[in-house]
Amino acid sequence: MVELVWLIPALPLIGFLILLLVGSRIGEPRAGWVATTAAAGSFLAAVVVLAGLLGKDAHSGDRSYELVLFQWLPSGSLKVEAGFLVDPLSITMALFVTGVGALIHLYSIGYMHGDPKYSKFFLYLNLFLFSMLMLVFGNNLVVTFLGWEGVGACSYFLISFWHRRESAATAGKKAFVTNRVGDWGFMVATFAIWSALGTVTYTEIASSPAMSAAAGTAVSLLLFVAAAGKSAQLPLYVWLPDAMEGPTPVSAMVHAATMVTSGVYLLVRMNGLLTDDALLVIAVIGAATALFAALSAVAQHDIKKVLAYSTISQLGFMFLAIGSGAYVAAIFHVITHAFFKALLFLGSGSVIHGMHDEQDMRKMGALRALMPITAGTFIVGWLAIAGVPPFSGFWSKDEILLAAWEQKNIGPLLWFVGLVTALLTAYYMTRQVILVFFGEQRWDEDVHPHESSWTMTLPLCLLAGAAIVGGGINLPLVKEWLVLEHFLEPIFAHPHHFSSGTSTKVVLAVISVVIGVLGITIATLAWLFRRIPTEQLEPEFLENAMYVDSTYARVVSGPGTSSFQKAADFDKGVVDGAVNGVGAAVRKLGQLIQPAQSGYMRNYATGVAIGALMILVVLAWGLLL
């Protein structure tokens, strides 16, 4: 059954081709159903392959199956195959990519209703799914790079799907530049691995002798640059908030659940090459990203922007896990995050849809009665991301915090940063839930919020179910329940084991729960009770809430609430500036040499003559030496 792996990417590709050929002719809603069927079929195929993989012995190495389609690049000493690698890691990724993907396809049928470019949207979605699966299943770096570029391209198309020229150009430019930096890292890493190990195939890389420490660290860092570009880590994250301008299902699928996790996948896939030094860098950057993005999320008013920064923050958590050597925890969090973040995005999409394209949370409130399913599922997502047990987010986040605690060099510090981030996460998500679904009504009279159609609410319910029980795939309570960990174990060069005793684990878990609850409480005090009609009667209480708000801001990041503004300014000024700065530097260089292109023949001839002189001098110099 494992041999059927080719079906998994083939089905979305077929869907894409059908839509390409007859998409606009079959129109709405059939185009949507074609794409959804392709995605669902792909998911079923993944389940079948998983069953086949589970039927094989776990320890003899049988659970790694390569399907080579053909020799792609027979270039000299470098041979690259077009082939698939099925192993626990790739199938795990594929399952949630296709699963969540199929649900989002289904959701989009309702969400994109009436859009003039309806079929084109699904065409891109299927192409995206195909590229993502190529990325996951490729048996070597080059095929993965193919998928890597493919998801990037689809991402640009989808960002600018609804766009007018100006903003699309800006958002697209930012996404493009930062992603190209990441792509550059990927390319250089590929060639570096090839020149050091003589292969780019994963199974051969895994069985190769170790590189020298310096080379290993260099390669690891290059891979991290690649991952940071795709997975929006400091300082390459700037494109992700802008990417939220695309249709909400796109944000859910491409920019929250799947594509942005491909950096995590890449690092986990190459885990055997990552050196300790590089891991430390990854952990630090991951923690910094988590904290920074969480701070930024606190100050947002746009319902999707909050989720966007939250995504960056959660990705930071995943990198923190990788940096601490806890690859399983990273993948675990990738999965649970995919569930609850897709849920949250789709929920926000449902709200936006119901509110007639209103995205400002200040103009929402008290929607829970009008949109019960959306509200209920959104609350599930909120509890999951806030780390309330037994929702899925708690388990994976807890495992990451534990791994951070045990990090060899600066473990407690990383743990503390993670903890603060968790606090902030609980806070800003609670704030969002309250602003959107509770409190008083703040929208205009002519807006009539309504619940969405079943194609939109069904995925919400399914994802909510997954967000509740998703933690079950890796429960730390009993050793046998660590299903994911045992399943993934064969792919790791150095299996990670938690060394802390049970009591430490319990204490840490309790602390993180307390922190989560604290965050929720603060937000509730600040945002819910501040708005109750008895406001005048309890000014003190309100003041207190405000006080808490600003205090913890002061504790966390220095001088007062303005720090949030500072964080936002940093985003706008420094990081944007850096991105634009690279572009500007290139332009500057261009403008520096542009005068040479003066249009005068004699200048051009002088160029030739000087060039000739230089060549002759260099050659003569060579003779002298």
């Binding site: 053909f70 020799q71 792609w72 690049l73 027979p74 270039s75 000299g76 000493s77 470098l78 077009a82 080059v142 790079f145 193919l146 570029e149 493919g150 391209a153 640009y156 600018s160 766009h163 007018r164 020229r165 699309a168 150009a169 697209g172 493009f176 530049v177 190209r180 930096v181 792509d183 550059w184 390319m187 250089v188 060639f191 090839w194 020149s195 572009g583 290139v586 332009r587 260089l589 261009g590 040499i593 542009q594 040479a596 292109q597 249009g599 023949m601 051009y604 001839a605 160029g607 030739v608 000087i610 060039g611 000739a612 060549i615 002759l616 260099v618 050659l619 003569a620 060579g622 003779l623």
Partner: protein, 496 residues
């Protein structure tokens, strides 16, 4: 030696079969001129196009036969070793013939639209193609020079034929003066090679350099330097590239495509044959120089492309940057690198011809502002999609032939331990991609109320675009046959 000693003249053995492709082309050129001068009035475009096409196709079949001959009997050379009959020659002959057929097709509608005399244009095109073949196949520097001049002089005139436009005149004069200037350098290099080794024949040069412990190193170095200058000019490598953007912009689009593809390919053919094959024993001397040229070319091409607003100018700088990639492969001075260069040239030729087919059809050549492409994605979705594919291929995006080509070039540089150059190539690929993306974004991202351009499409243009797109995409997935073809076409020098 090039000419036989006159006493007791014995005609050199001539493999007529091997000369047939370019003779067919010249014959077709003469035929077009003869018939068009006999015709009472202005002769039709169709006649010229069909003649050129048939000549190209016939010559192509002859080349296939030659390829199997070479495969069976091994490489040889003809006319006192002046003309190589080997995989390398035939590789370029085929490439030039394909480009000729494409250019003939895409100029069909263009000539009618712009009111250029078709028979003259086609006759010049055929001469130019024959010159390119001679240049690529020549084993003798003087023959190579003659080929180069035939190629270039025909192009000077082809540019100037669009004479009612002052840009065309300016670009013709620029290309002419600078081209003649650089030809003089090349010729001087040939003279010094002759003086240093006693022959202009590359087979002889190579044997001489291999056998003799060399005394007159200085003259040889000067010869290499000057040859490099002349050929770098033809392939538009920095700092000999200044002419390219101006000339590409001013020239009629089909001619720009021809210059960007074939003039460049033939220049690289000569470069490879001279430096990789004949000066192989001195590669430690020339390889670093070529590496520096490659680096400068990559940077200039990528960086300057960003600043442009005229599409033809953008593509001109992009073609400079492409030359940088091929130079990266050339400097590796290895069989792998040379095969990578050949692969690159082949795929690049088709990409660039397809691109200029679209550009030429987009309207008047007076200028090509980026804004003219705004909304093409809406008004002509298929054409826009094709152009997108071609541009992505030029950017080196995976699943296109451009990716494979860049990949091979960089891996050749890596295995040659030119890590710096490989890194630079990757960085400039990143920078360069921005420019292609800009064109693509312009085509697709427009306001709703804006209707895109709707230029007139002739089926010949569409055929060319479609063909090049399919080739580019298919080759991105199954590049093996062309890779093997290129590997078998690495130049060798054989006395014959």
């Amino acid at each position: 030696m090039f000419a036989p000693q006159l006493l007791g003249f014995v005609s050199p053995s001539i493999n007529w079969w091997a000369l047939l492709p370019q003779m067919i082309l010249l014959g077709a050129a003469l035929l077009i001129l003869l018939l068009s001068s006999l015709a009472p009035r202005r002769s039709s475009t169709t006649f010229a196009t069909v003649t050129t096409l048939s000549a190209a196709i016939t010559a192509y079949f002859v080349s296939i036969g030659l390829w199997y001959d070479v495969e069976r009997e091994g490489a040889s050379s003809s006319i006192a070793s002046a003309f190589g009959v080997d995989g390398f020659s035939i590789f370029f002959t085929m490439l030039i013939l394909i480009a000729l057929a494409i250019t003939a097709l895409l100029s069909h509608h263009y000539l009618d639209r712009e009111g250029i005399d078709p028979p003259e244009f086609h006759a010049l095109l055929l001469c130019s193609a024959a010159g390119a073949i001679v240049m690529a196949a020549a084993n003798d520097l003087v023959v190579m020079f003659l080929g180069l001049e035939a190629l270039s002089i025909a192009i000077y005139v082809m540019i100037a034929m669009h004479s009612r436009r002052s840009e065309a005149r300016e670009s013709a004069v620029k290309y002419f003066v600078l081209g003649a200037f650089s030809s003089a350098f090349l010729l001087y290099g040939i003279a010094l090679t002759y003086g240093a080794t006693g022959s202009t024949n590359l087979v002889h040069v190579r044997e001489y350099l291999d056998a003799v412990v060399f005394r007159d190193q200085h003259m040889l170095m000067a010869a290499m330097g000057l040859l490099l200058v002349g050929l770098s000019f033809k392939v538009a490598a920095a700092p000999f590239h200044f002419w390219a953007p101006d000339v590409y912009q001013g020239a009629p689009s089909p001619v720009t495509g021809w210059m960007a593809s074939i003039a460049k390919a033939a220049g690289f053919a000569a470069l490879l044959r001279i430096f990789f094959a004949a000066f192989a024993s001195h590669d430690s001397d020339w390889s670093p120089v070529v590496a520096v040229l490659a680096f400068v070319t990559l940077v200039v091409g990528a960086v300057m492309a960003i600043l442009q607003t005229d599409v033809k100018r953008m593509l001109a700088f992009s073609s400079i940057s492409h030359a940088g990639y091929v130079l990266v492969a050339v400097q590796s001075a290895s069989n792998d690198g040379t095969a990578a260069a050949l692969f690159y040239l082949f795929t690049y030729t088709l990409m660039v011809l397809g691109t200029f087919a679209v550009v030429g059809a987009m309207g008047s050549d007076d200028d090509h502002p980026l804004t003219r492409y705004a909304g093409l994605g809406r008004s002509k979705p298929l054409i826009a999609l094709s152009l997108t594919a071609l541009l992505l291929a030029q950017a080196g995006v995976p699943t296109t032939s451009g990716f494979i080509a860049k990949f091979q070039v960089i891996s050749a540089a890596v295995s040659n331990q030119s890590y710096f150059l490989a890194g630079a190539a990757m960085v400039t690929a990143v920078i360069g991609a921005f420019m292609y993306l800009r064109i693509i974004m312009t085509m697709y991202v427009v306001d709703d109320d804006e209707s895109g351009p709707s230029p007139v499409w002739h089926w010949t243009t569409s055929t060319v675009v479609l063909g090049t797109v399919i080739f580019t995409m298919v080759l991105g997935l199954v590049p093996q046959f062309l890779i093997e073809f290129a590997e078998q076409a690495v130049p060798i020098l054989i006395r014959g």
